[in-house]
C-alpha cells in the first residue's frame, strides 16, 4: 500500500520559490528589528501549558511530559519572552529589547491566510515606558512594511485605557456583559453593543459613548469628537491625551498618512493596558499583524515592569508581497560545472565557490 501523501490539516509546508520568498521577507524584517537595537531571542518550542495566556488555552496543542506535567507547543511568543526575561535573563538590566522569529501553532481550522501552524516575527520592548517607547514600536512597524515595499498600508491605533473606564462607568459589572460589549465593538455592531448594555445602570455618557464608538465614525476616529463624547470620564480622557501626544509626534515626523485612529480597537482587554494597533495593507483583507502595551504581564512572572511589543504574520506578508509582485529573486543563475574528470569537476567547482559563485555540480565527465 502506498503511504499517504497528505499532511495533516493545518500543517504548513513551503518549498522552492515560496520558501525563498518567505526567508527573504523574514531577513528584511529581522534586519529592521536589529537596526533599532533589538537582539534575538530563540525561545523554546514548547513549555508548560500554564505559561501561555489563558485566552489561548482552548487552542493549545498539549502533551504530557515525563514528569506528568502538561506541556504545550508555543501558541505565541510574548508570554515565553516575558517568562525568560524574568527568569534566565533576570540579571540583565532593563530595558530589554528582544526580537524573535518562528513558528507557532494553534488548534484552529485554517482560515484567513493562515494555517494552524504559522510564523510570527515580532519584538518586545520590556521596560519600555511612556510615549517614547510607544513611538519607537510604531516607527519600527512602519519601517518593516516600507522595507518590504508595501506601498499602501495603515496602522489603526486605539487605546485599551479608553474602553476599560467606559465599560466600568456604563455599569457593566459581569464578565459576560463586558465581553459581549467588547465583542460587539470589535464587530462595530451597534445592535450588539446596545444589547450588552441592556439593564446596565451606569452613566448615560458612558453608555452613549460605547454605542457611539460602534456607529459614529466621528467618535471612533477623531480624538476631538471622542473627547466631547466622553466628557467627565476622566480615565478615558487621560488615555485620549496619551494618544494625542503620540499622534502629534507622528505628524511632526511626517508619518500622519501611516496611522489612523480607531478607538473601537481593543485586541483583548484582559491583556493590553495602553496603546493597541493593527496593521492593514492594501491588497489583503485581514490584518498583517499588530501589537500594544501590556504593562501587567511581567508582574505575573515576578519581574514587574512596563512593556510593549508587536508582531507581523509572515504568512500574511508573504501572501501580500506575492500579490504585489515583490521580493523576486535577484540571484544570478548557477554556473554548471563539468570537468573532464570527476576530480577536475570538484576542483573547478571549489574555485568558483571560493569566488562566491553559485554552482550546479555536473559531476560526471
Amino acid at each position: 500500500m502506498r503511504a499517504r501523501l497528505q499532511l495533516p490539516q493545518g500543517a504548513s509546508c513551503f518549498a522552492l520559490e515560496e520558501a525563498r520568498r518567505r526567508r527573504a521577507i523574514e531577513a528584511r524584517v529581522v534586519s529592521v528589528f536589529g537596526g533599532w537595537g533589538y537582539q534575538e531571542i530563540i525561545p523554546p518550542l514548547f513549555d508548560e501549558a500554564v505559561t501561555f495566556d489563558p485566552s489561548l488555552a482552548s487552542k493549545l496543542y498539549t502533551f504530557t511530559g515525563r514528569e506528568g506535567t502538561t506541556l504545550a507547543l508555543r501558541p505565541d511568543f510574548t508570554s515565553l519572552v516575558a517568562k525568560i526575561a524574568a527568569g534566565r535573563l533576570a540579571h540583565v538590566e532593563a530595558p530589554l529589547r528582544l526580537y524573535y522569529s518562528g513558528e507557532v501553532v494553534r488548534y484552529e481550522p485554517p482560515r484567513a491566510g493562515r494555517q494552524s501552524e504559522f510564523h510570527q516575527m515580532g519584538l518586545e520592548f520590556l521596560g519600555g515606558e511612556g510615549p517614547a517607547a510607544d513611538l519607537e514600536i510604531l516607527a519600527i512597524a512602519i519601517e518593516c512594511l516600507e522595507a518590504l515595499g508595501v506601498a499602501e498600508f495603515v496602522l489603526a491605533i486605539g487605546h485599551a485605557g479608553v474602553l476599560t473606564p467606559l465599560l466600568d462607568e456604563a455599569g457593566l459589572t459581569s464578565d459576560d456583559s463586558r465581553r459581549a460589549a467588547v465583542e460587539g465593538l470589535g464587530r462595530r455592531d451597534p445592535k450588539a453593543v446596545g444589547q450588552a448594555l441592556e439593564g446596565a445602570r451606569g452613566s448615560e455618557t458612558a453608555r452613549r459613548g460605547l454605542v457611539g464608538l460602534a456607529h459614529d465614525h466621528g467618535i471612533r476616529q477623531s480624538l476631538d469628537a471622542s473627547r466631547a463624547a466622553f466628557a467627565g470620564i476622566d480615565r478615558a480622557l487621560l488615555a485620549l491625551s496619551e494618544l494625542d501626544l503620540i499622534i502629534e509626534a507622528l505628524n511632526e515626523a511626517g508619518l500622519q498618512g501611516r496611522v489612523t485612529i480607531d478607538l473601537s480597537e481593543s485586541r483583548g482587554l484582559d491583556y493590553y493596558t495602553g496603546l493597541v494597533f493593527r496593521i492593514y495593507g492594501r491588497g489583503l483583507g485581514f490584518d498583517l499583524g499588530g501589537g500594544g502595551r501590556y504593562d501587567s504581564l511581567l508582574g505575573r512572572f515576578g519581574r514587574p515592569m512596563k512593556a510593549i511589543g508587536f508582531m507581523l504574520s509572515l504568512d500574511r506578508l508573504a501572501l501580500l508581497v506575492e500579490r504585489l509582485g515583490g521580493a523576486a529573486s535577484d540571484e544570478a543563475p548557477a554556473a554548471s560545472v563539468q570537468g573532464p574528470t570527476l576530480g577536475d569537476s570538484v576542483r573547478d567547482a571549489r574555485v568558483l565557490r571560493a569566488r562566491g559563485e553559485r554552482v550546479l555540480f555536473g559531476g560526471r565527465p
Binding site: E152, R188, P190, G194, G281, G285
Partner: protein, 219 residues
C-alpha cells in the same frame, strides 16, 4: 477607489435595490447574467448568499449585504455596522406538534436535527446541554421529520405557511434575523472615506433617527 459590493440574487435583492436606488447609489439592471457588474461608483458581485461574508472577510469585496442568519452560520470575521431592516425572518426550531417539544417538555437524549444551518443548530442545542446529530441538508428541510429523517428542524420562517403545510410547529425561536451590511476590516481603514460615505448615505436612506432609536432600545 471604487468599492466592490457583494450581493446575492435571493430574497434580499428587492430590498437592497430599493434602498440603494432611494439614496442615489447606482444599481445594476436585473436583465443581465453577468456576475460582475459596474454601476455608478460601485462594482457589484452577484454570488450565493452563504458566500457573501466569505468574500467580504477575504477582502475580495469591500462591503456586502446578507441576512444575519447567514452571518450566524458563516462565523466570518467581518464588521456589521448597519442593520438594513428589511428581509425580516425568524430562525426557529420546528417539530411535529405531537412530539411535544418546547414549552418545558422533554427533548430526546440524542436529538436528530435536519438543517441547512449546521453551526447555528449545533451551538443552540449545545447551549442547552443537548447532544445532537446534525443532518446537513441543502433545502426542503421541512419534510425531514415526517419522513423520519430527523426529530426536528432548524430553519428560517417568514410566514410559517411552509411549516404548517408540512405538519410542523415552531417550538423555539433562535434568532430574529434581517439584512445586514457587512464591511471588510482592512477596507474599513484603507478606504475610510469611501466606506464612511457609503454608510452615511445608507443610514440617511433608512432614517438615522430610526437607527438610533433601535440602538437605544437595544433592539
Amino acid at each position: 477607489m471604487r468599492l466592490t459590493v457583494a450581493l446575492s440574487k435571493g430574497r434580499l435583492m428587492a430590498g437592497t435595490e430599493a434602498l440603494f436606488s432611494s439614496v442615489g447609489l447606482g444599481f445594476p439592471p436585473q436583465d443581465t447574467r453577468r456576475l460582475i457588474v459596474e454601476a455608478g461608483d460601485l462594482r457589484f458581485l452577484f454570488i450565493k448568499d452563504m458566500d457573501v461574508p466569505v468574500y467580504v472577510e477575504y477582502g475580495v469585496a469591500d462591503v456586502g449585504v446578507c441576512g444575519s442568519d447567514v452571518l450566524l452560520e458563516a462565523g466570518s470575521d467581518v464588521l456589521v455596522p448597519l442593520d438594513l431592516g428589511y428581509g425580516r425572518c425568524r430562525m426557529v426550531v420546528a417539530a411535529p406538534p405531537e412530539r411535544g417539544f418546547g414549552g418545558g417538555g422533554e427533548w430526546p437524549p440524542a436529538l436528530r436535527v435536519a438543517t441547512k444551518y449546521a453551526r447555528v443548530a449545533r451551538e443552540f442545542f449545545e447551549g442547552r446541554g443537548l447532544s445532537t446529530e446534525i443532518v446537513a441538508l441543502q433545502g426542503s428541510v421541512e419534510i425531514a421529520p415526517s419522513l423520519g429523517l430527523s426529530d426536528c428542524i432548524v430553519d428560517m420562517v417568514e410566514t410559517g405557511r411552509t411549516l404548517r403545510e408540512n405538519g410542523l410547529v415552531v417550538v423555539e425561536e433562535i434568532a430574529a434575523t434581517s439584512a445586514r451590511l457587512v464591511v471588510n476590516r482592512a477596507s474599513d481603514h484603507l478606504n475610510r472615506t469611501g466606506i464612511a460615505a457609503l454608510l452615511d448615505r445608507l443610514k440617511a436612506g433608512l432614517g438615522v433617527a430610526a437607527t438610533l432609536q433601535n440602538v437605544d432600545r437595544g433592539a
